[in-house]
């Protein structure tokens, strides 16, 4: 029981951390440093769906 607890709690937190990291742009581009996207980043952004022009930001 203790072993299950000690495995599950940190792994759960690591899982949440990974999920949050995936969705953060500053993982690859630091706001204090001049942005220079790699070829991989540019390709990834090119394949990302364009935002809907009719949608209101924050709505």
């Amino acid at each position: 029981m203790i072993d299950i607890f000690t495995v599950v709690v940190p792994h759960l937190l690591m899982g949440i951390a990974v999920w949050r990291l995936i969705h953060r742009d500053d993982l690859d581009n630091d706001p204090l440093l001049p942005g220079a996207a790699s070829a991989f980043d540019r390709a990834r952004r090119a394949f990302r769906p364009a935002p809907d022009k009719n949608s209101t930001p924050g709505a």
């Binding site: 495995v7 792994h11 951390a17 990291l21 993982l27 690859d28 991989f40």
Partner: protein, 456 residues
């Protein structure tokens, strides 16, 4: 169930790396610390997950990462020299087979420490790596702490997640490493952005720190107590309310001491008298042997050279013999092939004076670099760099604790400690990039304004 859970976690972690290549670096660090392949008995136990994560991390960095502005720092160069030197001593080792076995994981730890700073390009990456170091150690210490509280501790008796007494699952090593991660856990609670400061985050950080402090109690490793004392002294330096800090530590000590198990206090009392304890006497005898060995082998005997040692010493025991008399009993102990029980002597015996010199240089440079960084941003730092000095402090404290703990445990090549070195190099490199990216004025400002002529 645990088997499936860990397999699913590792698979998902590696899959996430496909989307964000840096996650492979975190996955490697996690696998290296927790060793999920040892915890499980199924699929993971038969797959070289550590090697897979390592290859993925390096390949993803080579193919997909932005490499603008990265530089090979002097400390990375020292690491490279240490790697080459260790490779050379392995070729001429006294025990080639055993030396090659250790070299099999040492080279990976050194290469990863050199590689890590190249990937730590952003503040978030530095934070993420520190977070995964703390949480990965948490996988070991949370259970260890709970078992200690439940009375399951004892010298060589505390059952951690993996019961093989190797690497971070060895009592003295986990006690040292646990104390090392405490400053990082506190820094994350104060300055984290992945888990922002809140009462829940603080509660978890304090829980981790408490579990870390329980590791020396549970394992009854004297090294851990020394490390905790050293960290307490170092934290006094950075504490803003020093008298309050001293009062709190003293009060906690007074409350904790009566609650400690008797076996723990008895074992800790042998710190000052090594002759009454066989384990401590062995260390002293092996250290003396190593000094003599280095006289005839100044370039070291290669990895695991200790296997050729044979030491003998006397243990002295004092027992009450009634009527206020004490019976002194001396016993002659002869031992062979005993480990160094000290990182300094491990380096001296295995890598000789050049290896010891490189290793000391690597760590002393770390302490100095962190000191320079913490001073640079100590007074009125810009808001976006307010986290730098506390992190430099935490990394310096962790390293000094490691250097003290390493005096009594053979962890000169412990991969976790090289992650700490890599993280320090990453922070130094990040600060260098920020400095270079700062806009420079077109003209240097004048020291004194020259008044305009009145006729103008």
């Amino acid at each position: 169930m645990l088997n499936l859970f860990l397999t699913a976690f590792v698979t998902a972690f590696l899959a996430a790396g496909v989307r964000r290549p840096f996650l492979f670096v975190l996955a490697y660090a996690y696998i290296d610390v927790v060793a999920p392949q040892k915890v499980t008995w199924g699929f993971l136990a038969h797959v070289p997950v550590s090697l897979i994560a390592f290859i993925c991390a390096v390949t993803a960095w080579a193919v997909a990462e932005n490499k603008d502005g990265i530089r090979f720092s002097p400390r990375q160069f020292v690491l490279l020299m240490l790697l080459v030197y260790c490779g050379l001593t392995t070729r001429s080792a006294d025990f080639p087979e055993e030396a090659f076995e250790k070299w099999g994981w040492v080279w990976k730890a050194l290469v990863f420490a050199m590689f890590l700073p190249l990937t730590l390009r952003t503040r978030l990456r530095i934070e993420a790596f520190a977070l995964f170091m703390v949480l990965s150690v948490g996988v070991i210490v949370i259970g260890g702490g709970i078992k200690t509280l439940a009375g399951g501790g004892g010298y060589g008796e505390l059952k951690l997640l993996v019961n093989d007494n190797q690497g971070l699952y060895e009592g003295s090593i986990i006690s040292t490493v646990a104390v090392c991660v405490m400053p990082l856990a506190l820094w994350l609670a104060r300055h984290g952005t992945i888990f922002r400061p809140s009462w829940l985050v603080w509660l978890f950080a304090m829980g981790i720190c408490f579990a870390c402090l329980l590791m020396p109690v549970g394992t009854q490793a004297r090294t851990g107590l020394v490390c905790a004392a050293v960290l307490g002294m170092l934290m006094l330096r950075t504490s803003k309310k020093r008298f309050t800090y001293i009062a709190v530590i003293a009060a906690l000590g007074l409350v904790a001491v009566p609650l400690l198990p008797q076996s723990f206090t008895e074992r800790m009392s042998t710190i000052g008298n090594h002759q009454s304890d066989q384990s401590a006497s062995t260390r002293v005898a092996v250290w003396k042997w190593t000094i003599e060995f280095a006289k005839t082998h100044p370039f070291g005997g290669g990895f695991n050279a200790y296997l050729q040692n044979a030491v003998s010493y006397d243990t002295v025991k004092a027992e009450k013999a009634g009527d206020n008399n004490t019976a002194i009993e001396t016993e002659r102990i002869v031992e062979k092939g005993r480990a160094y029980h000290s990182s300094y002597f491990e380096m001296l015996g295995e890598q000789g004076y050049p290896g010891l010199g490189l290793w000391l240089l690597l760590h002393l440079m770390g302490v100095v670099h962190m000191e320079l960084i913490r001073r640079r941003f100590a007074k009125d730092p810009p808001a976006e760099l307010a986290w730098v000095t506390p992190l430099a402090d935490a990394l310096q404290q962790a390293q000094i604790v490691y250097l003290f703990g390493g005096a009594f445990v053979g962890i000169a090549f412990q991969p976790f400690c090289y992650m700490l070195v890599g993280l320090q190099c990453g922070l130094s490199a990040y600060i260098g990039r920020v400095k270079r990216a700062a806009p420079k004025p077109f003209r240097a400002p004048r020291k004194e304004a020259v008044p305009l002529p009145a006729s103008a």
